[in-house]
């Protein structure tokens, strides 16, 4: 497996990554929603809008590009000639796909002097990359889409229910806290007082688990059987 093949795969997956005009519409909608939330209602609402609606919408829009069925993956393997290069090409292109929203949100948070939210937001994007790469292992793009949608939209919403009911039971134990940091790092960071895990540890754990998920997905992709 050579660097040249990874570059070839990366170029291949960059094609159609930002489909015009869908991407532009989603990016503007997401940033506008976040801007209005933070401007009119402050960082707490910004976190909710970003965690439950804006960033999942962006993550799924970009992620869909990488959910290929088995037949398409076989075609791409024939083109790139290396499973590892195909996987890494997908991963690199996915990272590039997250750059516009990361830049947009950095500028937004800088403008409203809320830079402390940027690190958990970056961790959230990292978890999106991990979930997308895991979902891309499913060789049925429709099932993969449902799985990705569930991870990025439904899990943060479920975590909000946990936080809402946590007040009755005291603080949330470290294991559950770690899980909440993984599925909703931005939202969990803003409710860190309820969690029995320091924010830095939680974000580091979420980042580590995300990287572990990507590595596991790579190992599985190398070994998996491809469906027709």
């Amino acid at each position: 497996m050579s660097t040249r093949r990874i570059i070839r795969a990366f170029k291949w997956y960059c094609k159609g990554l930002f489909p015009f005009p869908i991407f532009e519409i989603v990016l503007v909608t997401v940033l506008l929603g976040q801007y209005l939330a933070i401007k009119n209602m402050g960082t707490e609402v910004f976190v909710s809008v970003s965690s439950f609606l804006a960033l999942p919408l962006y993550g799924v829009t970009i992620g869909l590009h990488f959910l290929r069925d088995g037949r398409t993956t076989i075609f791409e393997l024939s083109l790139v000639k290396s499973p590892v290069a195909v996987f890494l090409g997908r991963c690199l292109a996915l990272i590039v796909g997250m750059v516009p929203i990361a830049i947009g949100d950095y500028l937004l948070l800088h403008f409203f002097d809320a830079q402390s939210l940027f690190t958990p937001l970056l961790v959230l994007l990292l978890t999106y990359i991990a979930f997308t790469m895991c979902s891309s292992l499913l060789q049925d793009s429709k099932i993969a889409m449902v799985v990705l949608f569930s991870w990025e939209f439904l899990m943060p919403m479920a975590s909000s229910v946990v936080f809402a009911t946590a007040g009755h039971y005291g603080r949330i134990d470290p294991v559950m806290s770690g899980f909440l940091y993984l599925v909703a790092p931005l939202y969990s960071s803003s409710y860190a007082v309820l969690l029995d895990l320091p924010q830095v540890t939680g974000l580091m754990l979420a980042s580590f688990v995300s990287l572990a998920l990507v590595t596991t997905a790579l190992v599985l992709f190398r070994r998996m059987e491809f469906q027709f």
């Binding site: 159609g16 037949r71 000639k81």
Partner: protein
């Protein structure tokens, strides 16, 4: 190319797709022939390294492709049936990527010969089955890898383009093809494996095919000429045992439209009496 299968099995839920496949072949071009569901594509996918056998082993030139996948993907180029690929990428962009990696002049030649230039502005996801098949063939055939693996490469193609593909493949060394059609197999291969229900029914080369005096006769009428022994009949064609001289005289008398040595059709007929 040396290809060896030892007690190869592949089980899918409720069905054995391959059932004790055992052969050892040394050849340049190999064809897997058989009806739908005979296990051709499954065997081809194991050869390509895309699937693992449930039991047994398969080696090509000393490597087990499903174990040493990087080597297999490096050395093999392939196209599998059902080429409809839902991608937004334009054909022009695919050609661009191929030109960077493969022999650019070969890519251009194939684009021109296969008529891909005429739809290079379209997105791959919007192509017809035939156009998508041509794109898949372009990716597979422009590669300089040592083994080309093709599953039903002529389906979806019109007769003109199928002939061009056939012509290109017949010049190639290092080809494994799966097909339903005995004629296509004979045109590009020098060794044949006939399969049915996951088993090998017959395995041999051109010499094995033609050593029996069996001919495919194209009849003018429904009846068979006298002095010929019917092996099998399908419409206005029949497989008969006869001599070349007798068939020549029938042709000269205008009683048959033509004839040729039966080859794979005969082996097919022996294994599947209704064919």
């Amino acid at each position: 190319m040396n290809i060896r299968a030892e007690r190869l099995y592949k089980k899918f839920p409720k069905v054995w797709a391959l059932n004790n496949i055992d052969f050892s072949i040394s050849t340049d071009n190999l064809a897997l022939i058989g009806p739908n569901g005979s296990g051709k594509t499954t065997l081809l996918s194991i050869i390509a390294g895309l699937r693992r056998p449930s039991a047994g082993r398969l080696e090509i030139d000393g490597i087990e492709p499903y174990r040493d996948r990087e080597a297999a993907f490096n050395d093999f180029s392939y196209l599998f049936e059902k080429p409809k690929i839902p991608l937004r990428v334009r054909v022009r962009e695919l050609i661009g990527i191929l030109k960077e990696e493969e022999n650019a002049s070969e890519v251009e030649r194939l684009c021109k010969e296969l008529g891909i230039e005429s739809f290079q502005g379209q997105r791959i996801g919007n192509l017809s089955s035939g156009q998508a098949q041509l794109c898949g063939l372009l990716v597979a055939m422009s590669s300089t890898r040592k083994l080309l693996i093709l599953d039903e490469p002529f389906v979806h193609l019109d007769a003109y383009r199928a002939t061009i593909v056939l012509e290109n493949l017949s010049k190639r060394r290092g080809l494994i093809i799966a097909t339903h059609s005995p004629e296509e197999a004979e045109a590009v291969s020098d060794h044949f494996v006939i399969m049915n229900e996951g088993k090998i029914m017959w395995c041999g080369n051109h010499d094995d095919l033609y050593h029996e005096g069996v001919f495919e006769v194209f009849l003018k009428a429904a009846e068979l000429p006298e002095d010929t022994i019917l092996v099998s009949k399908f419409g206005r064609s029949a497989l008969v045992k006869s001599s070349e001289e007798r068939l020549m005289s029938l042709y000269a008398e205008g009683r048959i439209n033509g004839f040729r040595k039966a080859g794979l059709r005969h082996v097919y007929a022996k294994n599947y009496p209704r064919v």
